[in-house]
């Protein structure tokens, strides 16, 4: 019996409403956040687990705080075992067009006019349809991506209608999400897209209106903030009772990160208390282009993120600080049951390749016309990467958060040697914040301890 390799504790003790002293503990192998009594924390730190009663042990084992296997399983072994039991999900990231009507400074894509040709479209239709009808998958998921996918709206609806129809007569769940700049979204289109199986809209706003309208301007120079906000606000109300989510994504740069409080105040006017609108703040990184002048220092981002979590909570906004589900893969790139297909039928593992000059050709792994519908995507360096020996050589091999992270971004590991998400660096501070947001009062710092898997 020992402390799990997959546990992290906050930095402080807290006082509960009944006066008890407690400590936040995150069992990443479950995953869950459990407030544990301070005396239990002290017993764990002094390695006196056996002095705790059997009831305490039962609770701690069930929540992933201590192991009952004698610590034989490594963090990576555990994560791999869990992934083998995960639902079978087949994912297609589809780019119905390579064009975009925006010209954002940090974007590394090259946009080319035109939509998917009919023969490529048919091949994609056959491929996704086969997955839905085959019975091999519990869920088939399409991510509509671009360029700006709504520039190929008729192509998207044409394909989605078929997939939705097949999904309705199948034991396989079909659903989809749309990543859009929001400029062409209307309330009517949201309604149509929901009927066409879209249950998640990822829409980017890059700061307060005055900033967004400059950094994410249309190619004709006009601003889009007010229009996007009006559509999301209305659509979120219309679909409040359904399972439709609206994610407002903000790409953090050195320029906009100090304006985000102003942005959050603006967003709170329509999103506060809305359970189907979520905020997602994410730092930009190189995307086949040089973003040195725009990318913020990771340690600055870490600090800003923590401050913004506090503000978002105060404003009644929905956001995530730590994963609440196990990561079955890191992303589509590592998942051999996932693939990216561009408008010309070119197949890739990673969404960051199809529209980047040079990588568009060098990183192509196949052509949809050359594959039978049931054939898996051709392998590349990222295939199964999260479960490969390559990960053992990285910090991921012993990382406490591997079960919920899965190994970060493989492309970043390969390109830059650093692929950890920011929650790896600030997990303990995030646990403190989660406790505070749940109503616990800070009661002083905890003695230093050595995390099991940091």
């Amino acid at each position: 019996m020992k402390i799990s390799r997959n546990v992290e504790f906050g930095t402080q003790a807290f006082t509960a409403s009944n006066g008890d002293q407690v400590v936040p503990a995150y069992g990443a192998s479950v995953p869950c956040l459990l407030m544990i009594p301070l005396h239990v924390y002290r017993s764990l730190m002094s390695r006196q687990i056996s002095s705790l009663g059997s009831q305490h042990v039962a609770v701690l084992v069930a929540n992933g705080i201590i192991d009952d296997d004698g610590g034989r399983q490594s963090a990576l072994d555990l994560a791999r075992a869990q992934r083998r039991q995960a639902p079978r999900v087949r994912t297609f990231t589809l780019l119905p067009t390579s064009y975009c009507n925006m010209g954002c400074a940090y974007c590394g894509q090259e946009h080319i006019k035109g939509v998917a040709a009919s023969d490529h479209r048919e091949a994609v239709r056959r491929r996704v349809s086969d997955a839905i009808e085959s019975g091999r998958w519990d869920r088939v998921h399409v991510q509509w991506f671009g360029g700006e996918p709504l520039l190929a709206y008729s192509v998207l609806l044409d394909l989605a209608a078929k997939f939705t129809q097949l999904g309705q007569g199948s034991s396989t769940i079909y659903d989809s999400q749309l990543t859009t700049n929001g400029s062409l979204l209307t309330i009517q289109k949201v309604d149509q897209l929901v009927l066409a199986g879209v249950n998640r809209f990822d829409i980017t706003l890059d700061g307060p209106a005055r900033t967004h309208n400059v950094s994410r301007r249309m190619k004709n120079g006009s601003g889009t903030f007010d229009r996007i906000v009006a559509v999301v606000s209305s659509a979120a109300q219309t679909h409040a009772s359904g399972d439709v989510k609206f994610i407002l994504r903000t790409n953090l740069t050195r320029q906009n990160m100090h304006e985000i409080p102003e942005y959050l105040e603006e967003v709170a006017r329509f999103a506060s208390g809305r359970s189907n609108i979520f905020l997602d703040l994410a730092p930009i990184h190189e995307w086949g282009n040089d973003v040195d002048a725009l990318a913020a220092n990771p340690s600055d981002i870490d600090q800003v993120e923590l401050e913004l979590f506090r503000l978002m909570h105060k404003l009644g906004l929905q956001f995530g600080m730590l994963p609440s589900e196990l990561a079955t893969t890191t992303c589509v790139a590592t998942d051999v049951a996932a693939e990216v297909i561009d408008r010309d039928g070119r197949m890739y593992s990673c969404v960051e390749y199809p529209l980047v000059p040079g990588q568009r050709d060098s990183q192509q792994i196949g052509q949809v016309l050359d594959l039978l519908p049931h054939q898996p995507r051709p392998a590349d360096v990222f295939s199964g990467w999260h479960a490969s020996p390559a990960v053992d050589a990285l910090p991921c091999g012993t990382c406490s958060l591997n079960p919920v992270c899965g190994g970060g971004c493989p492309k970043l590991w390969v390109d830059t040697g650093q692929g950890c998400p920011s929650f790896r660096r600030t997990v303990r501070q995030r646990l403190d914040l989660a406790a505070e947001f749940a109503g616990y009062l800070p009661a002083g710092p905890l003695p230093n301890y050595t995390p099991m898997g940091a």
């Binding site: 544990i36 997602d280 971004c409």
Partner: protein, 43 residues
């Protein structure tokens, strides 16, 4: 009918009772898998 379900529920409820009795409390993470597990650029 899954005859194991009631027994599993009883186990879960017993665990939750234990948690409350011995001073533990769950905190909702509210993540819903929206945070970026990796750093993919989204435009």
């Amino acid at each position: 009918m899954n005859e194991q379900a009631p027994a599993e529920m009883t186990q879960l409820e017993a665990l939750e009772d234990l948690e409350v009795e011995f001073g533990y409390a769950k905190v909702n993470l509210r993540d819903e898998m929206i945070i970026a597990k990796n750093a993919v650029n989204v435009c």
